[in-house]
């Protein structure tokens, strides 16, 4: 790019920007009042789904009781009722953690989901702060196009949803320090080990977007040690998300991520998981998987392909019970609050 031209564009953009800020300075109070008093009817999509804590009495595995075999070995029956839902995590943390460490799956999953809510609330708060900067200033511009006005309205509605989520979880997350928030990493691992598939998918698939990692390098070792078994377990419980995560890792799609580093590119394994995914696919997803399977099979021997086909057919028959893999056809959503 021509440097002079680039600078000129930057300056023009900056001047427009400064003019905008100056104009907004007088309008901020009004806009802030508008925003603060805006209707709050909408709930964030993340928060709208039923809370997974409904599974507290069933360890979150109501639909696949016969398949939860692997990770339950360390789980013990809940010895006491959980604290009332909505109790501040700062008050329940210690008790839940002790119970989770001792193998109480319900406590582990409750702790994970509560921490996830608080982490999400913090993230939303950050996003609101940042988006306020962008969205509110231009509200005073009388020359906005209809499309731009609609975009702004949608943006404000989305911010309102996020703000609702933050407010809804304010009491739950009050007084929770960074260290506790960061413990979502071991909390998700513990819940995953005790059978919480949502926690498992998040732990495996988030590729250790690990707050606090810098002070806990041992989490890397734990991640490395646990990922293969967690994927195997999730597969045996009919979890398409884990199958898709495994396929991407073995395909070498994310070689730099911790998941990619742990599993490593492996065409034969990639073929197995792709083949399994295809057995549950339908519609346009089939076309995509066929193409990927064709690519994945190129370096394989006929024996490897036969083994992969057999493995996939066996897994599908035993653990997936005719279910559809189309849920992951456009990418899986993990670590969101859709389960809460």
């Amino acid at each position: 790019m021509n440097d002079v031209s680039s600078r000129s564009k930057r300056r023009r953009a900056a001047w427009a920007f400064i003019a905008l800020v100056a104009a907004v300075l007088t309008g901020v109070a009004v806009d802030a009042m508008f925003f603060a008093s805006a209707p709050m009817a909408m709930k964030p999509s993340a928060a709208a789904a039923p809370i997974g804590i409904a599974s507290e009495t069933e360890t979150g595995m109501a639909n696949d009781a016969g398949k939860r075999t692997m990770l339950r070995s360390t789980a013990v029956p809940a010895t006491a009722a959980l604290p009332p839902r909505g109790t501040p995590v700062a008050e329940t943390y210690a008790q839940l953690k002790i119970r989770a460490d001792a193998g109480d799956a319900t406590a582990a999953t409750r702790l994970y989901h509560d921490l996830q809510r608080c982490r999400m609330a913090r993230t939303f708060q950050q996003m609101i702060d940042e988006r306020l900067d962008r969205e509110l200033p231009n509200e005073v511009d009388p020359h906005l196009s209809v499309l731009e006005i609609k975009r702004r309205q949608a943006a404000l509605a989305s911010m309102q949803e996020q703000l609702d989520f933050v407010r809804d979880n304010e009491a739950l997350c009050a007084g929770l320090g960074d260290e506790r928030i960061n413990s979502i990493v071991p909390a998700s691992l513990r819940a995953a080990q005790l059978g919480d598939l949502k926690a498992l998918d998040c732990y495996v698939g988030s590729d250790m977007g690990m707050p606090g990692l810098l002070d806990h390098p041992e989490w890397l070792t734990q991640f490395k040690q646990n990922i293969p078994n967690l994927i195997e377990t999730a597969t045996r419980r009919g979890d398409w998300v884990a199958v898709d995560l495994a396929h991407h890792a073995y395909a070498g799609a994310f070689p730099d991520t911790p998941r990619g580093q742990v599993l490593g590119a492996d065409p034969a394994m990639d073929y197995r998981y792709l083949r399994l995914e295809r057995l549950g696919a339908n519609g346009a997803f089939l076309t995509k998987l066929d193409r990927l399977l064709e690519q994945a099979s190129r370096p394989l021997t006929p024996q490897q392909i036969d083994d992969g086909d057999s493995w996939a057919q066996d897994r599908y028959a035993r653990y997936f019970d005719g279910s559809s893999s189309s849920e992951v056809s456009n990418g899986a959503t993990i670590c969101q609050m859709a389960d809460d």
Partner: protein
């Protein structure tokens, strides 16, 4: 909160006016020894020089021989470059960093583009509109083009590399220690998901804690606007971002964020078209959320840093027009 946010907006506007931070410069760090870092106003460290000792680039040595020809297969020159980098050859360290980055990018790109092609084939053609089909075809064509370029690079320069030879974090650290601003920006701002090999080397996290702020400090002293931007973002960031090592290190600190935003604005205010009042405006906004002492300290720090490190270097100090930790096919490695 709103006022602090607006202060950040004004600082953000400053970046638009800053001279291109990716402006070319003499690409490789000088191979001339610069044994110790000069004193600085404490960039990256509110309390002064706790990290300064580590900020000093390790002993640099004059390059003892020419670098291998550009485009030479990395697998063949890796050991030599690594050995030279280890003993302080800045040019070799920089070359190694850029070559590894380009190979990583090319190899990753091939894989990613396979997915793009597959995704583009997922749609049901019988139901697709002509526009949709046209876009899909164009996407696949672009993907194939880039696949070809990446494949060419991977074949010519990146073949036969061992997995460990694509681990960029320690190489970026060495090049950064020896004065490469691109490498410093990448190392300091490195996302967890870019640090191949980290799972097998958790000790790299300890190295990062020991070195990152010191390297940031050194880059500031070399007039690196990109580092200013990274530090401002990191100190201003709220919320929880587990993949951001720099934010884990700095935490949220509005006073420090103000320092760097102030520095950015000073650069903008130098331009004759920009009224000096923009500085007053920023200060007024900051006073809504920061104590006066913090603002005064930030102003003093920024004035000093700007005068000493940036006023003579308004065009920034990076070699690449790519983003931090990004590498293009045609990026010229340092020679």
């Amino acid at each position: 909160m709103v006022m602090l946010a607006l202060a950040a907006i004004i600082a953000g506007g400053a970046w638009l006016l800053l001279p291109s931070r990716a402006a070319p410069r003499s690409s490789a760090p000088s191979a001339i020894a610069t044994q110790a870092a000069e004193a600085s106003p404490g960039a990256g460290n509110r309390d002064g020089d706790a990290h300064r000792a580590k900020a000093a680039p390790r002993l640099k040595r004059e390059a003892t021989s020419p670098l291998p020809p550009r485009g030479a297969p990395l697998a063949q020159i890796y050991d030599d470059l690594k050995a030279r980098a280890d003993v302080g050859d800045a040019a070799a360290a920089s070359r190694l960093y850029h070559d590894i980055g380009r190979c990583k990018a090319a190899l990753n790109s091939i894989q990613t583009l396979q997915g793009v092609v597959a995704d583009s084939s997922q749609g049901n053609d019988s139901d697709a509109s002509p526009d949709t089909l046209g876009r899909r075809t164009a996407t696949v064509a672009v993907a194939h083009h880039h696949q070809a370029k990446s494949g060419q690079l991977a074949t010519s320069q990146c073949a036969d590399l061992a997995p460990a030879q694509l681990q960029i974090m320690p190489v970026a650290l060495r090049a950064a220690q020896l004065g490469d601003n691109d490498a410093a920006d990448c190392y300091v701002g490195m996302p967890v998901t870019f640090a191949r090999g980290l799972v097998d080397h958790p000790e790299w996290l300890e190295q990062y804690k020991e070195n990152a702020l010191a390297l940031a400090d050194a880059a500031i002293r070399r007039g690196d606007w990109t580092m200013v931007e990274q530090l401002q973002d990191s100190y201003a960031k709220k919320g929880v971002d587990g993949g951001d090592l720099l934010h884990q290190l700095t935490g949220t600190d509005p006073a420090m964020a103000y320092r760097y935003s102030r520095l950015a604005l000073l650069a903008m205010a130098e331009h004759p078209d920009v009224p000096r009042t923009v500085l007053d405006q920023q200060r007024t906004l900051a006073m809504e959320s920061l104590p006066g002492a913090a603002i005064q300290a930030g102003d003093a720090w920024a004035d000093d840093a700007h005068r000493r490190y940036f006023s003579a270097n308004p065009d920034g100090a990076r070699t690449s027009e790519m983003g931090v930790c990004e590498f293009g096919h045609d990026e010229a490695p340092a020679q």
